[in-house]
């Protein structure tokens, strides 16, 4: 494996970041379409307020985002998308139980986004390998048992999952652009933020 700072590693990183940015852009576009479908099929109000921190849903909001190192960005992204993979799989199962074949379109859309989330997770693992860190092992038991929620609460939770995933897709593109910037190795701390 090339050293993380070698020219070939830098080229590989830039290439992986470019592809990752495109993946994130496509994923975001599909999640936004899925959000519209989900809201409509589940009979929800698009402006419905969901609790700020839905249990188990990774929150995209970041303080001091510009101060993160490349490795921190990759690790946080990977943890988030692994969690989304489990959450979407759960949503898909619930949707099939609830609606069965009556709403194949929603099921297909959920499955398509789940596939993209899985692909993006894999992409992040590749980037981490390039950084010579290697991805952390996935804790299969990390996903807690689904909370006992009413049907309406499950629908709202699903809305929260998709909204947060849409935010993450934007954040991931930004993170990868930061990572793709030429300069010292991605693991080094960035320079202090500029004052406004």
């Amino acid at each position: 494996m090339a050293a993380a700072d070698s020219p070939s590693a830098a080229l590989q990183r830039r290439d992986l970041c470019s592809r990752g940015i495109r993946l994130a852009g496509k994923m975001r576009s599909d999640v936004i379409d899925l959000l519209d479908t989900y809201v409509e099929r589940q009979g929800l109000d698009a402006s419905a307020s969901v609790a700020a921190a839905v249990e188990g849903v990774p929150v995209a909001a970041a303080e001091r985002w510009d101060e993160q190192t490349g490795t921190q960005r990759l690790l946080e992204n990977l943890a988030a998308y692994r969690a989304f993979r489990a959450l979407l799989a759960q949503m898909l199962e619930e949707q099939r139980e609830q609606l069965g074949e009556a709403d194949a379109a929603l099921g297909r859309a959920l499955a398509a986004v789940l596939l993209q989330v899985s692909a993006f997770s894999y992409h992040l693992e590749e980037l981490l390998r390039l950084e010579s860190h290697g991805p952390p092992s996935e804790e299969r038991a990390a996903c807690p048992p689904p909370p006992q929620l009413s049907l309406f609460e499950r629908k709202l939770r699903g809305l929260g999952v998709l909204r947060e995933l849409a935010q993450w897709a934007v954040r991931s593109a930004r993170d990868l652009r930061q990572l793709a910037k030429p300069g010292p190795g991605s693991s080094s701390a960035p320079s202090p933020p500029e004052s406004p």
Binding site: G25, R28, V50, A52, V59, A60, A61, A62, E63, W65, D66, R163, E164, Q167, W168, V170, R171, A173, R174, R177, Q178, K181, E194, P196
Partner: protein, 262 residues
């Protein structure tokens, strides 16, 4: 004599033209009160109250720094205006992404391309207020039309700050504008200042050239040039080519000759 009045509901607008640094809110009253008013603004994000630093000028604006990015929690901004006769207020609630609107692109330049009568080269710069175009790249929307037509042509450009128009009408003056948007979020900027340009045209051969040659060979002291039958055509204010566009009616055979007058 104007009667003093309590304030009507103020008009409040919030926008981020320097994402991801922060956003600003500005306000005004729809009708004057004719007495002094004071304005108080509060900004809440989730459970946190944020500080909106008032500008010295203009007085009806303040700035907020983002403490978090990529949040799904909405911002709630409440503006209260008070005077001796009463008070009124308004509230705006919005997402972080929804208010992102860059300033228009700057330094738009349009030039003809030598030896290409249907091309115009357009270039511009990112708005200087956009703090980090490398990490938060902008995409652009270019519109152009000949002055003689009302319909715009549009081109969306996902990267770069230049574009070559390749389908311009030869010899026609164009008006060109550019707008900007963050690549991922928010809305398009207003249109940039308009620039004008005309594609390159070939310089016509000068009418007196052959007459001068004939004059020289026949030792004439004067020359007679039949008046050309010209059609007044669209003003060709060619930027940079130095040529004047001249139109001739079809079928006119131009024969330059000298007539001797003794």
């Amino acid at each position: 004599l104007s009667l003093a009045a309590p304030p009507k509901e103020p008009v409040l607008m919030c926008r981020s033209n320097n994402y991801p640094k922060g956003f600003y809110c500005s306000w005004h009253l729809p009708t004057p009160t004719y007495i002094p008013n004071s304005f108080n603004i509060s900004v809440i994000h989730g459970t946190k109250e944020m500080v909106c630093e008032k500008d010295v000028f203009p007085k009806n604006r303040c700035h907020i720094r983002y403490l978090q990015l990529f949040s799904t929690v909405k911002y709630k901004v409440t503006l209260t205006v008070t005077n001796a006769l009463g008070k009124n207020s308004t509230t705006a609630t919005f997402d972080e992404f929804a208010i992102v609107k860059p300033d228009p692109p700057e330094s738009v330049v349009a030039k003809p391309v030598p030896n290409n009568p249907r091309r115009l080269e357009v270039s511009w710069q990112n708005p200087s207020s956009w703090p980090d175009p490398e990490s938060f790249p902008l995409k652009f929307f270019l519109r152009y039309r000949p002055l003689i037509l009302d319909q715009w042509q549009h081109v969306e450009l996902s990267d770069g700050t230049s574009h070559t128009i390749t389908d311009a009408y030869a010899g026609k003056e164009y008006i060109i504008q550019v707008a900007a948007k963050d690549n991922d979020i928010g809305t398009w900027s207003d249109w940039s200042v308009a620039v004008h340009a005309t594609p390159w045209t070939e310089e016509p051969k000068h009418l007196t050239t052959e007459a001068q040659v004939t004059e020289t060979t026949s030792a004439s002291t004067s020359s007679f040039m039949p008046p050309p039958t010209t059609k007044i055509c669209d003003k060709g204010a060619v930027a940079g080519s130095g040529a004047m566009a001249v139109c001739w009616t079809a079928g006119l055979v131009l024969a330059a000759y000298g007539v001797l007058f003794i």
